[in-house]
């Protein structure tokens, strides 16, 4: 093996470890932030006992979940039951492979791109990976052999397929403006003006579909407690449940990172280093998720489907049409 390849592989592995570590840390801290922010919005204190202001609460939660009994229902399909949580978590994490989180930096004479890999079909890669995320939910719902799980799983996958369409179409406008599917090019094109100003409708559609895609309030029908107990993860306990929980947060971080990359200028910003800007914007998006959760009630299932197919889909097609029209007129 020659020297260049070896250096390349080492750098890539280090990048993967760092990104993976940061995401894991963010998932853990998100749990604390969500509980704290929601508590304060509802005029409560939230967790206060473990550590100062409950800072160690996520660790206590993790230890509790680890020591819980791991139950696999007797009539469940054991293999798929164990595989399902993994299938939900992995797609959420590997999307980060194409998201640029900083500009080029130079260390010991080597210039390093702050993105794990810059592929020229980055946009399609994101959707290929996220479309596989549905299977974890479907498998969990079916393998549990429980009617609430099955209903939750089917509901959830119907919702995810419907909104995946508008999620993809909302980003087409950005791709048209940039003329590239590479996420690095998309960020570089936003040096002067962010895409949120050029594509306000696209951003609105993206945010709405993203909430539905990660099953968060007001679209958290898959786990509507009053109708479905806990949806597709009714039968899960211990660390397997924790993995679904982590997958939800990982998905939130992923869709926020995509929003930052496509609409909010990625790592671009004055004064502060690019990585800091990226993290700031990402945190802002994540805060928005929590804010919406403590503000809006849940939609009804038929409202959700009507909204997706009869309002968002035509709107996103209209957005593409307008974008194309303006581009042709401006030349």
């Amino acid at each position: 093996m020659n020297k260049d390849l070896l250096i390349y592989l080492t750098i890539t592995c280090i990048k993967i470890f760092i990104v993976f570590g940061v995401i894991q840390f963010m998932i853990i801290s998100m749990i604390w932030f969500e509980r704290k922010i929601m508590a304060h919005m509802q005029v409560r204190l939230g967790p206060m006992r473990v550590g100062p202001h409950g800072l160690l609460q996520p660790i206590a939660d993790g230890i509790k979940l680890l020591f819980k009994e791991d139950i696999i229902p007797e009539k469940a399909n054991k293999f798929l039951f164990v595989l399902a949580p993994v299938m939900t978590l992995v797609p959420a994490l590997i999307t980060f492979a194409v998201i640029p989180f900083g500009d080029k930096i130079k260390i010991f004479g080597y210039s390093i791109d702050l993105v794990i890999t810059d592929i020229n079909v980055g946009f399609l890669y994101i959707f290929a990976v996220s479309s596989l995320g549905v299977y974890g939910v479907v498998m969990a719902g079916w393998a549990s052999n429980n009617k609430y799980s099955l209903l939750g799983g089917i509901r959830s996958s119907a919702q995810m397929i419907s909104y995946e369409l508008t999620l993809g179409l909302s980003l087409i406008g950005v791709v048209m403006l940039t003329g590239s599917l590479s996420l690095v090019d998309i960020v570089n094109a936003q040096a002067k003006i962010w895409n949120i100003i050029l594509q306000p409708i696209g951003f609105f559609i993206y945010v709405t579909s993203a909430f539905a895609e990660v099953n968060r309030t007001p679209f958290d029908l898959p786990e509507a407690e009053s109708e479905l107990v806990a949806g597709y993860h009714t039968e899960y306990s211990s660390m397997k449940f924790a993995m679904f929980f982590m997958a939800e947060y990982a998905n939130m971080i992923t869709v926020s990172a995509i929003a930052v990359t496509f609409f909010l200028g990625g790592w671009q910003g004055p004064f502060l280093p690019p990585v800091v800007w990226f993290m700031l914007k990402l945190s802002g998006c994540l805060f928005f998720f929590i804010w919406v959760r403590s503000t809006y009630p849940r939609l009804r299932y038929d409202q959700l489907m009507h909204f997706g197919w009869k309002f968002l889909l035509p709107l996103s097609l209209f957005n593409i049409l307008i974008t194309g029209l303006v581009m042709v007129i401006k030349g």
Partner: protein, 169 residues
């Protein structure tokens, strides 16, 4: 390196395809089909056809197979029901056709590979322009008519499906 990945992915796709046929449980069959489709997508990437690979996963593995699984899960809640062969007389012709196909494949593998003449899109050219850009250009210039006809066909099919499913709109 590429050869190793090819052999691993080829083995995975063939094994999954065989399991897809021999598996009794239809849900498992569908999952094996997904595995086959994903590993074939990996083969497309080895052929430097990234666009086809991504679309393969988005359309087939991501969208169509979810609907397959949907239907199977809703219909076959009691798996133990025995699968009956709807067309019992197809076994002998199927066996015969299988042997025929296998022997044709053997003959092709034994003989020399047919080499066509090299096309104008070499892999260096594709890499310089970009796979997706090239496909897009061709679709909207040389192959515009077939492309539009295909889209109308799909549109009509979608309307037809809705009409069949919902008589009263």
């Amino acid at each position: 390196m590429e050869a190793y990945i090819f052999y691993i992915m080829a083995a995975v796709s063939v094994t999954a395809a065989v399991y897809l046929i021999f598996e009794k449980n239809p849900v498992y069959s569908a999952l094996y089909l997904i595995l086959t489709l994903v590993s074939i997508a990996a083969l497309y990437i080895l052929l430097e056809a990234q666009f086809i690979a991504a679309v393969q996963i988005i359309v087939y593995a991501g969208a169509i197979m979810v609907l397959f699984l949907f239907v199977i899960m809703l219909l076959s809640l009691n798996i133990k029901e025995e699968l009956k062969d709807a067309i019992p007389f197809q076994k002998i012709p199927a066996l015969f056709m299988g042997i025929l196909l296998f022997s044709v494949l053997c003959i092709i593998l034994k003989s020399k590979f047919v080499q066509g003449k090299q096309g104008e899109y070499t892999s260096a050219y594709v890499a310089s322009v970009g796979n997706t850009k090239l496909i897009g250009n061709l679709l909207f210039t040389d192959y515009l008519l077939p492309f539009e006809i295909t889209s109308i066909l799909l549109f009509v099919a979608a309307i037809g499906a809705i009409m069949l499913a919902k008589r009263k709109l």
